[in-house]
Symmetry: C2
Subunit: 384 residues, 2 copies
């Protein structure tokens, strides 16, 4: 089923030749008019040229018209030439879109760190991707992938007809350093830029920043929200739709983690503070011991309790409860359960871990995946 973008947006993706595999690797998302936007970028002290540039444009605060994205070259740790190349890429797209100001075009990259952007390749491809605008979501969602095994798209429709459509790529890592989470969410809901800029970091904190595949943070991570403001909508309905779309994309990224065979959903309740709930959920989802236990179908609740304990969340383990795949295994002390039956229940595409910290009423979610031989092979069996 072909999905369309919200009103006012067009997109295209194609193979520019950045990926040795010949797969699609260049995408353009563009609008006919100005787009209000919001941005959350990597917390890594090392940041790619596109992240630095996007932060500068965010501070300037002006609307934009397009985003040019590539999956193949991170343009990171590439020095002053990298910043120039990133500016040149924006200028190429601005020109191909009909003489826009380059500052009206945002850039996003993922790929090899420390390798100069092959500008001849890009120069030849940008006019082609601009000419292809109008493909729908499919081309865009494919051209931003790296080690992902499938495209990630989510959508929501607001009362009144406004829509939110998001695409993302996962945090898999291939040879070397193809590891980045990118998310682009477009909406036509007519709400002010100030609303978007306040809401987006809060949504990202509960969704994209709660995905963990291997604990590494890419210097290229970014989540962009863009709005064409074509359709009336309430702020509450947009916030709910953004949360839904971002959470769906987050879950799909975790499910498609490198080497993953099982999605791990963690839901922490009863926390003293929202930040505690998020930290606790993220720590469980990211624990190498929990991830290997899930892979081994081992109903090993001690690893979950120990992960909660080191998460920094404020709670008393004697007041806590753990429910693993629907079975309560710990409530202040070990409970009797049928280990063989629970092990069989863990042999599933999705494993649900629920914890109640018994310390308050805040809750939070996180998404992870099991740790497998496949992850090790993907990331080790490469030699430059």
């Amino acid at each position: 089923m072909a999905m369309t973008l919200p009103r006012g947006f067009r997109s295209a993706g194609l193979a520019a030749g950045l990926k040795p595999s010949g797969r699609p690797d260049l995408a353009l998302l563009a609008a006919d008019g100005p787009l209000d936007w919001a941005f959350v970028g990597t917390r890594n002290r090392l940041s790619a040229a596109c992240v630095d540039r996007t932060r500068r444009l965010l501070a300037a605060g002006a609307p934009v018209r397009a985003v040019i994205m590539n999956a193949g070259n991170a343009n990171c740790a590439t020095g002053a030439q990298g910043a120039k190349d990133d500016e040149a890429l924006a200028a190429l797209a601005a020109g191909a879109l009909g003489d826009l100001d380059p500052d009206q075009v945002l850039t996003a990259s993922t790929g090899v760190i420390g390798v100069p952007m092959p500008m001849d390749t890009v120069r030849a491809a940008v006019p082609r991707v601009a000419a292809a605008l109008g493909q729908g979501v499919e081309g865009l969602s494919q051209a931003i992938l790296t080690t992902d095994t499938r495209a990630k798209v989510a959508e929501a429709t607001l009362p009144g007809g406004a829509r939110v459509v998001g695409v993302a790529k996962g945090s898999g890592m291939i040879h070397p350093d193809m590891g980045t989470m990118l998310a682009f969410v477009a909406t036509d809901a007519d709400l002010p830029a100030a609303t978007l800029r306040q809401a987006w970091p809060e949504v990202a904190a509960r969704t994209f920043n709660q995905v963990t595949v291997d604990g590494d943070t890419s210097p290229n991570d970014m989540a962009l929200l863009l709005s064409s403001r074509r359709v009336n909508a309430s702020e509450a309905s947009l916030l709910a739709a953004l949360e839904q779309v971002a959470a769906e994309l987050a879950e799909r990224i975790a499910a498609d983690g490198e080497g993953a065979s099982t999605l791990i959903r963690v839901h922490v309740r009863g926390a003293a503070r929202a930040g505690d709930a998020l930290a606790a959920a993220r720590t469980v989802a990211g624990s190498a011991l929990v991830k290997t236990a899930v892979h081994g179908r081992d109903p090993n609740w001690g690893r979950i309790l120990s992960s909660l304990g080191r998460s920094g969340a404020d709670f008393d383990p004697r007041q806590a409860e753990i429910v693993l795949q629907g079975t309560t295994v710990y409530r202040g002390q070990p409970l009797d359960f049928d280990a063989a039956a629970l092990s069989a229940a863990l042999d599933a595409d999705v494993v649900e871990i629920e914890a109640d910290l018994g310390a308050g009423s805040a809750e939070g979610r996180a998404w992870g995946c099991d740790l497998t031989d496949g992850y090790v092979r993907i990331n080790a069996d490469y030699t430059t």
Copy 2:
């Protein structure tokens, strides 16, 4: 070569029957007179009965006479009965040593979380281990191991003849949750308890807390320093000896990490603060991407720079330098190097990663190991 303990200490280890394998699992370290001591325990909110009890005794501040240790049962998340069992274990050892006060005996445990201590097994074995005192270091160093493939012992001799002897077990994890770092360091250097208690957490911060195998923190972790105060020594010489012994034990724990084939030594210089240097070194040593790159002999410096960037250390990547196994690969920008030769150099038992953050003069070290299929198999291929 049999190693002796410092003056005033005796030890023994034997197989009590806690480990299904029948390997040694109970050890006793004892002294003829009072021992001054210092303690660093887990930061996990979940803490074993022995950690809780040791903290209480530390606050009371009195000297002790012995430590009874087991490798086989963590006595953690075992509720009020667990605390009683831990007290009973101390009382058993106190009685076997000739009617000591139970508060003169410390306890340490590692093993399965959430399983009651088999008190009948322990009751039968404690008198035997007390009767065996005087074996030397070998029995002690063997009886505290779990997934470790070899015993870990280090020693140093101070000017004037005082000695420091330490044993440790690694942070490997077996079915389920055999994951703990224990270290016991004995000295006969005559320095006040206040000196020990100030120095020991600082030494541990630079050594034991800079070891990472998989990022998980056990609820049973503890590092104990005990002193019989038999031999005159200077404070400076004792601190240097403690640092040396603790760093050697830390390195041996990392080298014997589960599934590890390569020890990773990280040395960060040029940091603005000591805490920055420690965090940066620890983050590199713990990065799944760095660990898999080392396993794959991939001279992939982008992963190192990205790990430094997410470590929280305050620095500018454009001022940083990275030296991988003796080859400078990045100095503010990518440098040319012979990738095939460096890949060959990474095929070694020890890989050295040096980074200069260009932000100050502080430095720090960390120790890790490569991430292999073996780690995944050890931790996944178990079903309760």
